[in-house]
Assembly symmetry: C2
Homo-oligomer: 380 residues x 2
């Protein structure tokens, strides 16, 4: 059987491991490396689907844990699946809910069978297992689904992570068996193992033997340094098959996107662009602009003079600052639009650089202009 | 000198006083009767200018008091005026700030010279006079500006209202003298007088003698009954010149829009459609739908089956309910869009009915379908 999504490798950058490719899904094809906007509750916060399409998003995320709780996967299924429910006809990827159970829920009890926990909304007791997670994802109906995994803290003990990785592999196999729609939904396995090379190797070996149509790398961007993350990526992507897509979960700062692409990552997601937008913080070609600051009150230039997005073509920093300052919802629309466009456009530039074997040069120029080379540079 | 805006009367409904016409402004012409969306802080809450244009809004409001406080009229002026500041190239109308001073501010002290008060944001002492209000409106640069008036409570004593009306007339004259841009900004006088016929007559007489390019009717929709409001409108519009536009301030419930049009009103504004939208309440052809209610959780039909707006063409009640229920900002975009479209579309139907001398029939059918004929019907 042909897998539900297929990856086509087009070119590898001569000087790095960066891959130019495309992912063919039941809801369209998108080029890689790609940044995927996050629509946790079946909505990328403040954005209309038409706007995501306009800015070039070929795939977005939704969140299994949150949609399970509200509105319930049965309602989404009854609506005809996530695509119809939210009026988005391009690609959709859902995580397995595992990350949220481990980060949001209370009093979790991890057993071989699954995880007992109290949900973060009303404290009700709930249970999530590989079979249950896959059943929810089957009902939600995304093009790409994630295995139910445990995401241990980066600095957990070797022994704990070893046991966790082994369990995550067993859970991956159970999920694969429970998956009802492999012909139109692609289930990815998630490589864990924290910072331990041999455990990452074990995890990758286990999952590759199960022949998933794609592989995610989890357990990163959870508090470790950029150097540690890049180090793990360097040896982990080498363990994954060349003809399958690789997705680095939860990463969205501009430097990490470029550095991840250089190490052979094809897909990224993060709430960063929309989350910081709600607080009046934006990413521009010249680095971070905290647009809510008073110093922009009389700045009648665009947010980013080098940006061609809806926000930058039509509005000034002074107007956006005014809207954010007065809690006007349209201000957050404008900063969210810009931040998402910025990362999607960055990935477009990354793809062009790979095609021309110039990713290292692009990285150097981008880092310099964004301010990453300054002392005490922030990540975004 | 030609006034900055001119009104053209096209047809009067045979059976009522309803007028079909158009208002020509420096930023385009719009048909009347018209409902004007309110963009208090230079943004119609959650909406993009393109969306307002798409739904047929030819003119919107902005608020002098709020923009004076934030960002300050000097910043808007430096931006090139409200149109450029907020990226809206159709008509803009600003009130004078009087209503907010009387409804929001604390410790106000009304003198002949003007009003001393403490602002509602930080309690600073401020002073607003006819000259100051007009100077702010000149700086903001709308097409239509309002005189600085006092809006007394509807059930104030005759003596108080008589003195207030006389002062509002003197303030109107002072504002007219202070107005610097009559060639491109039309200043309207505001008829006050609460429910007293002779005071409304006095107010109208005073203002008409000053030959304003348009007249507003203020002091209504402030707690009096619909019958009282309609009664005041009946004798007040008769006092105003036929060839000038008439604007009923602060009215936006569907019944009041139709009843106002029947009494010769050309323009209306109200925060109602966007305010109730934020709370998950919508207006539909079959009456009020509180979309956040649990009973819509599995309703996969459009919000209003008879509506052709963006929201109703693309989304279900179940999805909108989910978004409102989970505090997703896009839900409020969808309900705001629909409610604004609903009122703009209602006015389009009103205009068609006037053109065909069928406004009474339209009113009857609309009231029946909306539910206004039911016992204990709500206003929206």
């Amino acid at each position: 059987m042909e897998p539900a999504v297929t990856y086509h490798l087009k070119h590898v950058d001569k000087h790095t491991g960066a891959r130019l490719g495309e992912l063919v899904t039941p809801h369209g094809t998108f080029p890689t490396p790609m940044f995927m906007p996050v629509g946790t509750l079946a909505s990328v916060k403040t954005m209309a689907p038409e706007e995501l399409d306009e800015m070039g998003a070929g795939v977005i995320l939704a969140n299994t844990y949150h949609l399970w709780l509200r509105p319930g996967e049965d309602i989404v299924e009854q609506a005809g699946g996530l695509h119809k429910f939210m009026n988005w006809d391009k690609g959709i990827l859902t995580d397995s809910g595992g990350f949220q159970v481990f980060s949001l829920a209370e009093l979790r009890d991890i057993q071989e069978e699954g995880v007992h926990f109290k949900n973060h909304l009303d404290g009700s007791k709930m249970f999530l297992s590989p079979e249950k997670a896959i059943a929810i994802e089957n009902a939600l109906g995304p093009d790409i689904m994630m295995s139910f995994d445990e995401c241990p803290p980066f600095f957990e003990s070797y022994d704990y992570v070893a046991k966790s990785v082994a369990r995550t592999s067993r859970w991956a196999e159970r999920g694969l068996k429970a998956h009802k729609n492999p012909d139109w939904q692609a289930l990815f396995g998630i490589v864990q193992g924290a910072g331990f090379k041999d455990l990452r190797q074990q995890s990758a070996r286990d999952l590759v033997s199960l022949d998933f149509p794609g592989y995610s790398i989890g357990g990163l961007s959870v508090g470790e340094s950029k150097e540690e993350m890049n180090h793990v990526l360097e040896f982990t992507t080498l363990l994954l098959p060349e003809h399958k897509p690789r997705y680095l979960m939860g990463v969205g700062s501009p430097d990490a996107l470029i550095d991840g692409a250089m190490r052979g990552i094809d897909m990224f997601d993060c709430v960063l662009p929309t989350r910081i937008a709600r607080n009046g913080t934006t990413m521009t070609s010249n680095g971070r602009v905290v647009i809510k600051n008073a110093k922009y009150a009389r700045d009648f230039t665009p947010l980013d003079p080098n940006c061609n997005c809806y926000t930058c073509r039509n509005y000034t920093r002074a107007y956006i600052r005014h809207l954010i300052h007065t809690d006007e919802a349209f201000g957050i629309r404008l900063t969210s639009y810009h931040n998402l466009y910025f990362l999607l456009h960055l990935m477009q530039q990354v793809r062009e650089a790979i095609a021309n074997d110039q990713l290292l040069d692009f990285r150097e120029a981008f880092f310099e202009q964004y301010g990453y080379n300054k002392p005490d540079a922030k990540s975004f």
